[in-house]
């Protein structure tokens, strides 16, 4: 961790940091790409693509919905892998913990957006805001589960405690989520609801519409990478400030004893 640069009287070094933020050339390029892709998505999604023959204008919602659901799932996979990387003694490093946390944050946000946009699309396409099938219900559960994960990260304690606890919770979630999906699937299959099965079958798109969908997916993915890079740097700084505060407190205590 950071070496202590406190002078013996406990004051901070006089130098003012030269780097004003968390940006680097890489993230600047990613940021520009994200912005451009979203602009393109807006153009394609709202203006240039035609309405669907079957669904009408509501298909436009899919161009953002599919992007956010894909990234939400990606984010949680990354959180799980980073959690495992932290717990493994060979690769233990708080950087993995911070990546896991950053990834889960944007994952929760996009999971929420997914549920909202999916609900709106469902209302337009089938007339209902909600449907009790395995996919939708599991998505809602993932949303709640990762809110819980973020709450565990906020419990306090040392950085290692935070990392360990949340890593375990994330990996348990990898067990829990498929179980929830499977049980809901079993449950709904009992009800033999043909109209439900029809509703959740995948929509086929082609040409311009497929391209818009792709742009949306790539746009949200690039945004995800951009965010995780920035956010884990912010978390590193927050941890560093924590550590310095601790160092300072220890130094003061030691000076008191002298």
């Amino acid at each position: 961790m950071a070496t202590t640069h406190l002078q013996t009287d406990g004051t901070a070094p006089a130098a003012v940091p030269a780097r004003s933020g968390t940006g680097t050339p890489a993230t600047r390029w990613l940021g520009i790409a994200t912005f451009a892709l979203f602009a393109l998505l807006l153009l394609l999604g709202l203006v240039t693509t035609p309405a669907d023959v079957v669904q009408g204008e509501s298909v436009r919602i899919l161009y953002v919905h599919v992007g956010t659901v894909w990234v939400a799932y990606l984010a949680f996979i990354v959180t799980a892998i980073s959690s495992a990387a932290y717990l493994s003694k060979r690769t233990r490093s708080l950087t993995w913990d911070r990546i896991a946390g950053a990834s889960a944050e944007i994952g929760v946000l996009y999971m929420g957006v997914t549920l909202l946009t999916g609900s709106l699309w469902g209302r337009l396409s089938w007339g209902t805001f909600w449907v009790w099938d395995a996919r939708v219900t599991t998505t809602a559960f993932m949303f709640i589960t990762y809110i819980g994960y973020l709450a565990v990260r906020g419990l306090g304690g040392s950085h290692d405690q935070r990392a360990r606890r949340s890593a375990v919770v994330a990996l348990l979630a990898v067990v829990e989520i498929p179980l929830v999906h499977f049980s809901v699937k079993m449950w709904r299959s009992v009800h033999q609801d043909a109209s439900v099965a029809g509703r959740t079958s995948d929509v086929t798109l082609d040409g311009q519409m497929l391209f818009a969908l792709l742009v949306g997916t790539v746009a949200f993915t690039v945004m995800y990478v951009w965010y995780v890079l920035h956010r884990q740097r912010v978390l590193a700084m927050e941890d560093a400030i924590d550590d310095r505060g601790l160092d300072r407190a220890l130094l003061e205590r030691r000076n008191e004893a002298l």
């Binding site: 709640i144 419990l155 929830v180």
Partner: protein
């Protein structure tokens, strides 16, 4: 000291604490009974109650699970007992299994009470085949609940601001048990024309759940309670 012996000692300790303090018997069982009565007030229809009785039994169980888990860890954190066990080098996996078994036993008593109340208050019926299914359902369902309860209870135990986290963490995880146990119990009671045979796949689901979290919990408990 090996895992089995540790588990047995911890389980015995927890049960002895309950026998002496009678907190579950005096407070949680009445709470669960009260919940069953409140359901009747809310649903206000004898046919609806009879139809939903299996779900109400397991909802009552899950609400009570919260309290029993918090109690299970309150007795540890009160005097820093969990830390003392950990520092003394007691196998955390043994602590996990031991506390889970003690918790499971207490839950079993609670569930049996709720089944009896269901027969009395909701007029559900049970034939011999159904009884076999019910008893077989209770074992993996209870173990599953006990395992996840102990696991997340250990995480949420003690320090300020952590107790309110337990429901948020626990309830999503117990959903498969709620689904599976309710469906199996419906088959056992013959609710809505469900045949007893239909319950067995659900028992399978409950066994998978209990196994996964039994193993997962045994592995995860150590890192979780480490300070």
């Amino acid at each position: 000291m090996n895992l089995a012996r540790t588990a047995r000692l911890i389980a015995a300790k927890d049960l002895r604490v309950e026998l002496r303090s009678r907190v579950v018997v005096n407070q949680v069982l009445p709470f669960a009974a009260l919940v069953m009565v409140l359901f009747a007030f809310a649903l206000d229809s004898e046919s609806a109650l009879k139809r939903t009785a299996p779900g109400l039994i397991w909802l009552g169980t899950i609400f009570s699970l919260l309290i029993v888990v918090q109690r299970s860890f309150a007795i540890e954190t009160a005097d820093g007992a969990l830390d003392a066990l950990r520092v003394a080098g007691v196998n955390p996996a043994g602590i996990f299994v031991g506390k889970s078994l003690a918790l499971a036993l207490q839950l079993l008593v609670l569930e049996l009470l709720l089944v009896v109340l269901s027969v009395i208050l909701y007029a559900t019926t049970l034939d011999p085949a159904g009884a076999v299914l019910l008893v077989t359902t209770l074992v993996p369902a209870t173990l599953g609940l006990a395992f996840v309860g102990t696991l997340y209870g250990g995480l949420a135990a003690g320090a300020k601001g952590r107790e309110t986290l337990l429901p948020l963490l626990l309830f999503p995880v117990v959903a498969p048990v709620l689904i599976g146990a309710t469906r199996a119990t419906e088959a056992a009671f013959g609710v809505s024309g469900a045949a007893t045979g239909e319950g067995w796949p659900w028992v399978g689901l409950l066994v998978i759940f209990a196994t996964l979290f039994g193993v997962g919990g045994t592995l995860a408990f150590g890192p979780l309670i480490e300070e």
